[in-house]
């Protein structure tokens, strides 16, 4: 990690006064306490449980092996993997595409309104979005019922059959999250110097060529940032399947995702060691992804 070129935006100026040596510690003390109590200790605690057995003896990897042998484990990995693939592709294609289209709009006022409209579903993140989509997916009440019937689904249980869940969860996640990312991408597009675009236009580049040759390459680090964060969040899938399992007439199981399985181990099977093992796996995935991104991407390098 030592190669991380982390500097403030004003980091080029290296003349920091050595005088305020201890005051800084007082300023960060409260935050450090919270960081230790709710970031570091739970991590350590999870690791401790993952590597010990019910008798608090060191158990090596046996919890990991046992959790992985559970009949629900592999399906959960497959579910989350499929969901991630669909969601990430949808995010990259549509968020980038819509941001580019919005950026080309000549009418600025319309653009503002559209961006805000796309952003609003973000207010329904969490349980509320699942409520809304339960209704949207129920052909008896949905405004999209004709469309659902066209696809051949006449009842709620047909729509939410297990094979559909990954794509439905991806759709819900896209509905709540895409608007925020479109705003971010739009902001990044605004930061591309105008003269570069103008130069391309004078050289005869059309809108599509400008997008392909200039804008998308310059957006790349933002797209990577989005994919990394969305990947990390996506591995944690919990609310959507948990609520659907309570509302699906038993169609969707309560162990669809890894986080649900961890929850079930802890609270249904009273096996905190297996639960902790799964938590640690998810934690390691997110930590590795985050650490690689922070140290390798130069994203947090202000120069």
């Amino acid at each position: 990690m030592s190669s991380a070129p982390i500097t403030g935006a004003a980091g080029t100026r290296r003349r920091r006064a050595p005088r305020p040596l201890r005051a800084g510690h007082v300023f960060v003390a409260g935050y450090v306490i919270l960081l230790v109590a709710f970031g570091i200790i739970p991590t350590a605690y999870g690791i401790y449980f993952a590597f010990t057995n019910a008798g608090n003896r060191f158990a090596g990897l046996s919890n990991f092996m046992a959790a992985a042998r559970d009949f629900r484990y592999l399906p959960a990995v497959e579910h989350v993997g499929l969901y991630l693939v669909i969601w990430l592709i949808a995010l990259v294609v549509f968020v980038t595409g819509l941001a580019l289209v919005l950026h080309q709009l000549p009418a600025r006022r319309t653009g503002r309104t559209v961006r805000f409209l796309y952003y609003i579903p973000g207010a329904l993140a969490g349980a509320a979005s699942v409520m809304v989509w339960l209704f949207m997916l129920d052909p008896t009440v949905s405004p999209a019922a004709p469309f659902l019937r066209l696809l051949g689904y006449g009842t709620f249980s047909q729509v939410i059959q297990p094979g559909h869940l990954a794509i439905l969860f991806a759709m819900i996640a896209f509905w709540t999250g895409a608007g925020g990312w479109i705003v971010v991408m739009y902001g990044a597009l605004n930061n591309i110097p105008l003269d570069v675009i103008e130069a391309a236009r004078i050289d005869g580049a059309g809108g599509w060529q400008i997008a392909q040759r200039i804008q998308i390459p310059m957006l790349r680090k933002w797209i990577v940032y989005m994919v990394i964060l969305a990947f990390a969040v996506g591995t944690q899938l919990f609310v959507e399947p948990q609520l659907i399992s309570e509302a699906s007439l038993g169609v969707a199981g309560r162990d669809y995702s890894l986080n649900q399985l961890s929850y079930d181990f802890a609270f249904q099977n009273n096996n905190v060691n297996y639960a902790a093992a799964i938590s640690v796996e998810l934690l390691v995935i997110c930590l590795v992804v985050a650490a690689v991104f922070v140290t390798r991407s130069r994203f947090f390098d202000a120069d």
Binding site: I6, G8, A9, A17, P20, A23, F27, V28, Y31, V32, L35, P42, F94, L98, V101, P106, R112, R115, Y118, Y119, G122, A123, L124, A125, G126, A127, M131, V132, F135, D138, T140, V141, P143, W175, A178, G180, V183, G187, A188, P193, L194, A232, Q236, F238, Q242, L243, E246, N259, Y263, A266, A275, S279, L282, L283, C286, V289, A290, A291, V294, F299
Partner: protein, 315 residues
């Protein structure tokens, strides 16, 4: 490349080059087709994003029979809305109001602690030199990129070990730990506050705390609003943590309460008992549950979409 794009949170001071005006391009009739396709795309996605919300607004004004029989996008009646509200508040004796109060309390307490702790920390990381600063910064970045849900089960084990499960603090304190807010504050002060200003204050005999109080804090309004906004929205919409930490239904925040209501809707859960909740009541409950965040969104609209918050979202 301008520095704004390289930092993930290009927080700019309002008024400082907010909207870069683009020159209007003359519309050429030959490219009409090129205008229609984007318009169509934006409209289709517009419907996708907005239609469920419009439906939700209208559903709350209908009876359950109207919900099924009438046009999905028709208005019911004020009378039905009133009835739905009465039935909703009748559920477990004003439970919905209690849940809203709980949500407000948790989100507000966490917000106060987040700001009180995070603003000074971000300021110190940006403007002061002290041993451990770099380590703290890297740790913050890494933790910030981890979704909050990652630690829920380990957090439960920890809180359980100190016998705090079911208490207010089991939710409020983990909510208050908000590394993303610290990071935003760090970026803000490193870009918006000239070091020379602080140096001048020190030469004039200002202590570090004096400089923070007299110089940094008066300039901090935009970042306090920004961190407050994200912290509030994140905590109000959090489901997993309170779901795990709070066993009693009278402690639920409204998000978890929605889940409880859902299990009492017979159309979604045939095993629902006799305390059945009708679908329009659930729709109304959802609306009520999201209204505080919607209101905050409307007030923040100008900032949200102007690109001012570029990079500042974290799901």
């Amino acid at each position: 490349m301008p520095t704004e794009t390289t930092a993930p949170a290009a927080v700019r001071v309002p008024g400082a080059g907010v909207a870069r005006s683009r020159p209007r391009r003359p519309r050429r009739p030959a490219r009409a087709a090129g205008q229609i396709l984007p318009g169509l795309l934006l409209t289709v996605f517009g419907i996708f994003f907005v239609l469920p919300l419009i439906w939700l607004l209208l559903a709350a004004t209908k009876t359950d029979a109207q919900l099924v029989q009438d046009n999905p996008l028709s208005f019911g009646s004020w009378h039905a809305l009133r009835q739905n509200w009465d039935a909703l508040t009748g559920f477990q004796g004003d439970a919905i109001l209690l849940w809203l109060r709980n949500s407000a309390l948790y989100a507000f307490l966490a917000l106060v602690i987040t700001l009180a702790v995070g603003i000074p920390a971000g300021y110190a990381l940006a403007m002061m030199e002290f041993p451990g600063r770099r380590l703290l910064l890297i740790t913050t970045l890494v933790v910030m990129l981890m979704p909050t849900t990652t630690l829920v089960v380990p957090l439960f084990l920890e809180i359980n070990a100190v016998h705090l499960v079911g208490s207010l603090w089991s939710v409020v304190l983990p909510f208050s730990f908000y590394p993303f807010g610290v990071f935003l504050t760090y970026i803000y002060f490193s870009t918006a506050l000239p070091r020379d200003l602080l140096a001048a204050a020190r030469i004039d005999g200002c202590t570090e705390f004096g400089a923070f109080r007299r110089i940094a804090l008066p300039l901090a309004a935009p970042i306090i609003a920004l961190v407050g906004f994200f912290s509030f929205v994140a905590n109000w919409t959090n489901y997993f943590l309170p779901y795990v930490m709070l066993p009693q239904s009278n402690q639920y925040p409204v998000q978890v309460g929605l889940g409880l209501l859902l299990t009492d809707v017979p159309q979604f859960n045939p095993t629902a008992g006799n305390a059945a909740v009708l679908r329009p009541e659930l729709a109304l409950a959802t609306l009520v549950a999201i209204s505080p965040v919607l209101i905050v969104f409307l007030f923040a609209q100008r900032y949200l979409i102007s690109g001012l918050l570029a990079g500042a979202t974290k799901e």
